[in-house]
């Protein structure tokens, strides 16, 4: 069940960019499991990848290719992560890139590989390469919805976001898709998000824009605290808009563009949490009054990762002692609990480190029955803040992850 997620919104085509989807039968026959994205000559591409030390072969190879050339194609497969596969995994990822390169008449380094699925199984290269011609044949600038479906694994709904904005009288489009429902606690990126714009943006500025947008969106969500081996987030700028090339972070036009990118990233990151494995609630954790942002993040994640807090949300049980215990174990040095206030939405549950005088169980109960809840903690140590989005922890999380490979 996805919390508060409706059907995909309109995903505006991004001039210059085409997508194609194929069924390669990697894990199940007839499932869309290969996605090809084609960027025009002179497009720029920024990317961030997982910091997991066991990063997957496609992540390693994509970084190498990005350093060597400007990408023309992105090849994405689901059903197999090609992670924990050593040297063979690198050769397999390279073989897939070569198949795309040969079909398109470009160099292999101009193709970026991405994989998601089970870790530790050899990549079925021949199935993927056999699907490549169909993906080429399907290339279209209108295939965003197909592509959003083509990158799903345990996701229950496809995820996309799109903005069209006027900047200095020029229309600019930002459209993105993402997947991910488990092994989600991104570190610099989340598993497979692809965002494209027709704005022309200088390469370094495009990377700056992506890094900033990711920091407060994909890097501020957690489902289970498990950072994936395959996380990747890509921002492509086709340059087909009539808006003059963006080259300075100080330009007002850049601010308008960056805001659109941020909105698309926020929507996609939230969508991942709303469709978290087994999720029945969407939880926003806001920490205020910290001495620095890092300690706020530390407290936010202590709450967002606590199985006891997450099962209480699932049960709609205002068992706020579990939130208090999580704040207390977060490891903030010199924390003075007598200055701490905790709120569930508008209800103050803890004041000055103890149960708020006006608090009554019925008030907490009323909030906990909601599908979307904000936990707000005031640390009383300074003026820094952090926000993390997460979901609850249900029977279905256990079922999905106990059954995943069967």
């Amino acid at each position: 069940m996805a919390v508060g997620l409706n059907d995909l919104p309109v995903l505006h085509p991004v001039p210059g960019l085409r997508l194609g989807v194929a069924c390669a039968g990697i894990k199940k026959p007839g499932r869309r499991d290969v996605v090809l994205i084609e960027t025009p000559q002179d497009a720029q591409c920024a990317a961030v990848f997982t910091r997991n030390a066991f990063c997957a072969a496609p992540v390693t190879l994509a970084k190498r290719h990005l350093a060597a050339a400007v990408p023309r194609y992105l090849l994405i497969n689901t059903g197999n992560a090609n992670a924990g596969t050593g040297e063979q995994g690198l050769r397999d990822a390279a073989a897939c890139c070569e198949a795309v390169a040969a079909a398109a008449g470009v160099q292999a380094a101009q193709v970026l590989p991405f994989s998601t699925g089970v870790i530790g199984e050899p990549l079925p290269v021949s199935k993927i390469t056999a699907g490549v011609p169909a993906a080429f044949a399907a290339l279209s600038d209108a295939a965003w919805v197909d592509a959003a479906h083509g990158i799903m694994t345990t996701d229950t709904v496809a995820k996309g976001a799109s903005r069209q904005v006027e900047i200095d009288g020029h229309s600019v489009t930002v459209t993105g898709i993402a997947k991910g429902a488990g092994m989600i606690r991104p570190d610099m990126a989340t598993m497979l998000a692809y965002i494209a714009t027709d704005a022309a943006v200088a390469p370094a500025l495009l990377q700056t824009c992506l890094a900033a947008a990711v920091q407060s969106s994909f890097n501020a969500i957690t489902i289970d605290g498990d950072t994936s081996t395959n996380d990747a987030c890509v921002l492509i700028a086709t340059g087909c808009s009539s808006l003059p090339r963006l080259t300075s972070a100080q330009a007002p036009a850049y601010a308008a563009f960056a805001r659109a990118v941020q909105e698309v990233c926020d929507t996609l990151a939230q969508a991942i949490v709303r469709d978290g494995e087994g999720a029945t609630k969407f939880i926003t954790v806001e920490i205020e009054g910290g001495a620095d942002a890092e300690e706020c993040r530390q407290v936010a994640y202590a709450i967002a990762h606590s199985p006891l807090v997450k099962t209480a949300f699932f049960a709609s049980d205002p068992n706020w002692g579990r939130i208090l215990a999580a704040v207390g174990r977060a490891g903030v040095a010199g924390l003075d609990v007598s200055r701490i206030d905790i709120y569930l939405d508008e209800v103050c549950i803890v004041q000055g480190g103890g149960r708020a005088p006006a608090y009554q169980e019925a008030l907490g109960q009323a909030v906990m029955r909601r599908e979307e809840i904000t936990v707000r903690v005031q640390l009383g140590r300074g003026d820094q803040a952090a926000r993390v989005w997460t979901c609850d922890f249900s029977y279905d999380y256990v079922r999905i992850n106990a059954e995943y490979r069967t």
Copy 2:
């Protein structure tokens, strides 16, 4: 279901120490929920407590009392943690101590209070004090089994361990009981463990002995990563054994004594994990070849806290990619994955950072079907090691914690 836990072993009385249990009706009528422990004059008492910043009122008060006097009584209640209760909680804990002190003719500072149960509810002082006379009337040196039951909350079985050893021709007894099945990732202690010995031990040495024993037992277990607000572990030395007083950590007699304490702590700590909420498997995580012990603990906890790893154990699914991903995200700086080997019991699953050439799914499957499994990771960076005990993550964990207060 408790994994590999049988009925309580014989719990040898500890000369000089008496225990009494009463039903005070704190949460449910007729349930043993108040335990009184009486130590003889001149006994020594060492204790370690939770480091959770939101430590409970009884923890704060017990620390104050320990600093002011040598304890004669320990008063333990279940059903209410008296945590997150502010100044009123301190007054309530003090009132309980005063009731015991008045009945026994000692000072209130000679009584240590301990509470476990729901966080954030006011302590029902009058119920507890009303139960005190019955606890006094029941005092006996043979009541260890009763006391082990009297401190249970969501535990499904009572937990105890006992050793009788000959040291230099003198018999020495070490007996302990513990409780705890959720909110378990102790930091300096675990929720309610009481260990007593008839050896005479100098106070500082007794604290050294307890701290050392706790480090590799209670402080090396995790069920859900949530450190309780009420953790406490107490070691009482009655001094009634004929063994001369232990005063030096270098003495061979101390080594023999410390070994018995360690064995009792190990058995109790394991029992807590074996009876972890919803546990169906008992997992030992051993990390070897680390540059220092801290990074080994970091990797061990990354594995032991991963919901994906824990649900895979529940499903008996050799989905070792999840273990590999947890190692990779543990945050060890400069980790060279090409030097990492991973074993499930005797089966090598990862060699040099990739799937071991000889590994076959059937081999992993055979191990995963076992009730007790050791995950061993060789980091290839040095000669340091760490070991953590944990359990799997089942539907029942969610059920127990979604229903806990209802």
